[in-house]
Amino acid sequence: MTLLAEADRGSGVSGTALRPDALRISGLDVSYRVRGRSRPVLRGLDIAIPAGGTFGLVGESGCGKSTAAMAAMRYLPRNGRTDAGRILVGGRDVTALPAAALRDLRRHSVSMVYQDPGRALNPTIRIGAQVAEIYGLDGAGPEEARARALAMLGRVRIADPASVMERYPHQLSGGMQQRVVIAMALAVRRELIVLDEPTTGLDATVEAEVLDLVETLRRENGTAVLFIGHNLEVIARMCAEVGVLYAGRLVEQGPTRAVLANPRHPYTVGLLRCLPRRGLDRRRERLDTIPGFLPTAATAPAGCVFAPRCGLARDVCRADPPPLIPLGDGRSSRCHFHAEAPHLPRNAPAQAPAAPADRAADAPLLAVTGLNMTFRQGRQAVQALRDIDLSVRPGETLGLVGESGSGKSTLARILLGLTVPDADSRLALDGEALLPLGRRRDLAAIQMVFQNPDSALNRAHPIGRIIGRALAKLAGLGGAARRERMLALTRGVQLADAYLAAKPRQLSGGLKQRVAIARAFAGRPRLIVCDEPTSALDVSVQAAILNLLADLQAEQGVSYLFISHDLAVVRYVSDRIAVLYLGRLMEIGPADRVFAGPHHPYTEVLLSASPGPDGAVKRVPLSGEIPSAVDPPSGCVFHTRCPRRIGPICDTEEPPLSPRQDGHAIRCHLDSADLGRETAP
């Protein structure tokens, strides 16, 4: 893996020799009491962040990373307990501070940015008052507090801060809400800010902006950062140092660049291999996965916590827990065989399943021509989709990308027949007109896999009944035939038979998504709409699900419409890619062509917003928010935010979706020669 270009950004602040560490956690044990029993969550955690330093704590859900963040703020859940260890913020032990001193610490020294900004802001208090409150605590009078709040909102690059002051949180977009939270966190100069997954749930373009903003303000203030995340790209961009957390233990730690380029713990190695890297194609190579599950307190092994899932584990691993072994250069690894970690054997075979013959020449399975979708909102007509032409061939994956509000979900709903498009739209599946749900004859042909398997599965029913019902409805099966097909299906999605009797809540997110996939495949579908199927899952689970989808496709020749904001994932799974912006198709073409370019300026912006773990792409900033579909910009809808706008023609005339090369079409006035390309990694 290539070196990380931006990983050393956080180390820029100098002259910090005399200041105490911004955060020093030593020997921290935290446990939760669950049903009267103590369940350890963190064990012997040691972290040191120098003043002005940046530290990323990564790990999958349940590893204890948010607990570490909350322990540092001394805001553990009611059943949480710090059993041992010390947490020093700027030299003061937060576990021992009396209430008044703790409040003082929170006012002046440490603050936090949260995962879900919409819920972190008080729904019944105006933005201005919520931000001004911080300055009030800092000793400012009401007038001064408001003035400083206004200035701070300007510093987090909120357009028209005076009007935002008067609004309530629900009137702001997710990105704006997070800016407000950041404004509150950085309102006064602090020693440490803790960012707990601050960009999860935001669009890639907004995420890039929010991260830039944090980085800028952090540098200006000389604030140290503890960054909690599951996304290695983001950590690489933000943090000089990284710690990998597994089952409550730090398993590897060191400078981010070195750790990600040359991991020395099998878990880190496995995590990195789960990521769909550039140049990887599902038709050629499967993603590697990590076997098994995160141990629970009850199943915690005696030796190394990772041993049950480790391809290198030997007897000594299962007997003796390894210490954190120093490797030099500030690195350490909790592995007896750290030198062998890079040679961890693969868990999933690399060989992709035999792909069916190239069917590019086949008649398209799905043909959409002149699709328009107009919603009525009061007296206004909102054009959610305009003039969409696209096709999906049998056995092909079409990736669909675009920010929230671009019309991706509307398109999915129309294909499923849940929303009826404007009268002149033509949709055909296998040459037959695609009717709305009520009049559709073959319901099984188009199915969907949702983002959140939690809410997509009926909580009251056991898995066997959920799949059985799909088989009855979509395949018309009953009795022994249904039972037989159900077992075949569940085995096909690698779900143990024992789970058929379980309820959804007893399953992990990945297992639930397997159930949802089995359900979608019940009636031998032709096209499956996958709406962000892995965005709620951990990377190791994501890799397994992406492999599964690829295997099923190779086996059954099903086509996918794959909606995602994760471009690395889209790139890995897609044969072709369509880019939507404000309901218009801006670009469509073969995946490698769309990525390599020349591509649409909007695609260029999207690509630069997620540079991938290699971090080689130069950022092209995207200004402002996506305009409202109620009143779309004249001319090219992207001209208000376009980094390559050529002139008045863009403001007045909408460019056609013009064919370029090899089935690649771009909606832009620029010639291919003037459009952006992907810089070589």
């Binding site: 929170r106 949260y114 879900d116 972190a120 802001l121 605590l137 629900h170 509150m184």
Partner: protein, 317 residues
């Protein structure tokens, strides 16, 4: 706000319309022969027919309803069978009495219930919390005639601290009236306290556990400010609906208490009218209670909207 009010008013009107149909059906159609019901089984059939004709009960139901509701809307609630006098003054006086009793109970129980709920939530899991929850629950399940009789026995007859009737001597001043209403109000407080405290507690617990309360704590706000500024407003929104639903009961549903304490409220008016086959009185009483319910619900909606910007925004769209 005005937009929201205008959108809700038609719902209120429809609710009252449906209620009026039910009341009309129950009061005028179901008894079948109104004249027979009034005059009794031994009356002369000719007299019954004459009375039916005089009351208009021999005409088609739709015509009767139209005339009845038309007069009702204009404030003319027709004549009481029992008193041979217009119904409206009786209903008005009873309503006024009920409002007084309900008002005393309301001003006692709402602050008590909300405070109890908040205190319980702030001491979640501790002894005080359990005590408040337990007391609230027990008080709610004790029927008002039981607690009322116990109160009369202890404070009225035993200790002689309070009068055993709720009706003050004629011409009594406000203070004396209040004194007479304290004892009958207490069983109502018992019954309603549990509901309000439970909702207030649940809302406060939820708000205390919310992400925005976490934000407030981690800003370094003292606990008092976290609770007062950030928690309570959000916490008490659901409680408002419960308070509104209890308002209707406190004004119009007090048959037992009013009978027990010899009080001429709307509850005892309805009860007496029902026993005496005084259908116009019965209908007017029930419709009045219905109007009180609808108005208190409407007021709660408005109050919710005033406190919750999300609902308000919905009103504008």
């Amino acid at each position: 706000m005005l937009g929201l009010l205008l959108r809700r008013l038609p719902y209120a009107a429809v609710t009252l319309f449906i209620l009026s149909l039910l009341v009309f059906a129950g009061g005028q159609l179901l008894p079948g022969d109104v004249g027979r019901a009034v005059l009794g089984p031994l009356a002369d059939p000719r007299a019954v027919a004459a009375l039916n004709h005089q009351l208009g009960a021999d005409r088609p139901a739709l015509v009767q309803y139209g005339e009845w509701i038309g007069r009702f809307v204009r404030g003319d609630m027709s004549q009481s069978f029992a008193f041979r006098a217009p119904v409206a003054p009786f209903v008005g006086a009873a309503l006024w009495n009920s409002l007084k009793l309900g008002g005393v109970a309301f001003t006692l129980v709402v602050p008590l219930g909300i405070l109890g709920g908040i205190v319980a939530a702030l001491n979640r899991g501790r002894l005080l919390d359990r005590a408040i929850v337990l007391v609230g629950l027990s008080a709610t399940v004790v029927p008002e005639f039981v607690s009322g009789i116990v109160l009369i026995l202890v404070f009225g007859i035993g200790l002689k601290l309070f009068p055993i009737s709720a009706t003050p001597p004629p011409g009594a001043g406000a203070a004396v009236q209040l004194y007479y209403l304290v004892l009958p109000a207490i069983p109502l407080v018992f019954i309603v306290f549990g509901y309000i405290a439970r909702m207030a507690r649940a809302g406060t617990v939820e708000a205390l556990d919310s992400d925005y309360a976490r934000t407030a704590v981690l800003k370094g706000l003292p606990r008092r400010d976290v609770v007062m500024r950030h928690v309570l407003r959000n916490a008490l929104l659901p409680t408002i609906t419960v308070v509104a639903s209890q308002t209707g009961y406190l004004v119009g549903g007090l048959v037992v208490i009013e009978t027990l304490f010899h009080y001429q409220g709307i509850g005892s008016l309805i009860y007496t009218a029902a026993r005496g086959h005084d259908f116009p009185m019965l209908e007017a009483g029930i419709m009045t209670v219905g109007v009180i319910y609808v108005l208190s619900t409407l007021a709660a909606d408005m109050l919710l909207a005033a406190l919750n910007p999300r609902i308000r925004a919905g009103g504008r769209a």
